[in-house]
Amino acid sequence: MTDATLSYEYGDPHHLGGLVSAASAQGPAPKRIVTAYGFWIFLLSDIVMFSCFFAAYAVLLGQTAGGPSGSQLFNLGNVAAETAFLLLSSFTCGLASIAADTRNGRWYQAGMAATALLGLCFLALEAREFSDLVARGAGPTRSAFLSAFFTLVGCHGLHVSAGILWLLTMMAQVFAKGFRADILRRQLCFALFWHALDIIWVAIFSVVYLVGSGT
């Protein structure tokens, strides 16, 4: 007993009460925390990869090789609509997370279906924008600026496409197997992924479209 009290006092230099010492006394963290933490590390590495594309875009912003610049190409109304779709899809994904935690299958499927629909609207707008640019002779081969633009925005679009595939498999898994512990862990990771994509889109519409159309 005295040993436990002593180690409790010395093991708690930041006066966190029972929080830290109780957790370490229980042994390894629960699988839910380990899984989500590992996925969080993956997301951060994904963000580091995107930061390389952002750096390339920022460096190549003026290198238009005599071709069109951002202010001549970007349609900000289209970008605003894309932003609205992605923001709302993040919100409905949050609603689906709440429904998953309260084990409400119907609300979960509704929230995920709404998320998928909004994500598909976003992808449709982006595909239309890309094909419009290529048709106007401003494809990725036109200039270094456009190569950087298509790589960065296209990479985000690929992430959204993969996210929608993941979303559909999550809906099917919950429908077929119910809210099992392993499926709830996957749902936690999916929600993290979808919200992280929204964060990257915030950087894209600010830096690529709004700053890019000012030059």
């Binding site: 629960p30 839910r32 899984t35 989500a36 969080w40 900000l76 923001l87 600010s206 830096v207 700053v211």
Partner: protein, 130 residues
């Protein structure tokens, strides 16, 4: 089943994306707050980008500040990364990721601007080749 019971009892650590709150009402309010704030910040960004009311060279800086603020809103209200002691590991990983991101972006811009300054103008290079 035992794992689920343990999941509910163990609140000493939070997984990234997880909330402390278990009631539906406050959680819903959190997502609504996050959506409202980010709509506000997005609208401000689009307004600032198109306006003539502010000093023009300040616009890119203002857009970056607004974007960082909105990313913070998303982190807190959607990904539930907070400063609480149960979130320390998640915040430390995020801090390291941000360090790398700033090194890559800031370093690239810094180096490339210096390279541009030190390089001879393009027509001069062409004349030397010809």
């Amino acid at each position: 089943m035992s794992e689920q019971v343990e999941n509910f009892r163990d609140r000493h650590d939070l997984a990234p994306g997880e909330e402390e709150e278990v009631h539906v009402g406050p959680r819903l309010l959190g997502y609504v707050t996050g959506l409202g704030l980010s709509v506000l910040l997005t609208a401000t960004s689009f307004f600032v980008a198109g306006t003539d009311l502010v000093w023009q060279p300040s616009i890119p800086v203002a857009l970056c500040v607004l974007a960082i603020a909105q990313m913070g809103v998303h982190l807190v209200f959607f990904l539930h990364i907070t400063t609480g002691p149960d979130n320390t590991n998640n915040v430390m990983a995020l801090a390291f990721g941000l360090l790398i991101v700033f090194l890559i972006i800031g370093g690239s811009l810094w180096i490339m601007s210096h390279l541009n300054q030190n390089m001879a103008p393009m027509d001069q290079i062409l004349r030397m080749q010809g």
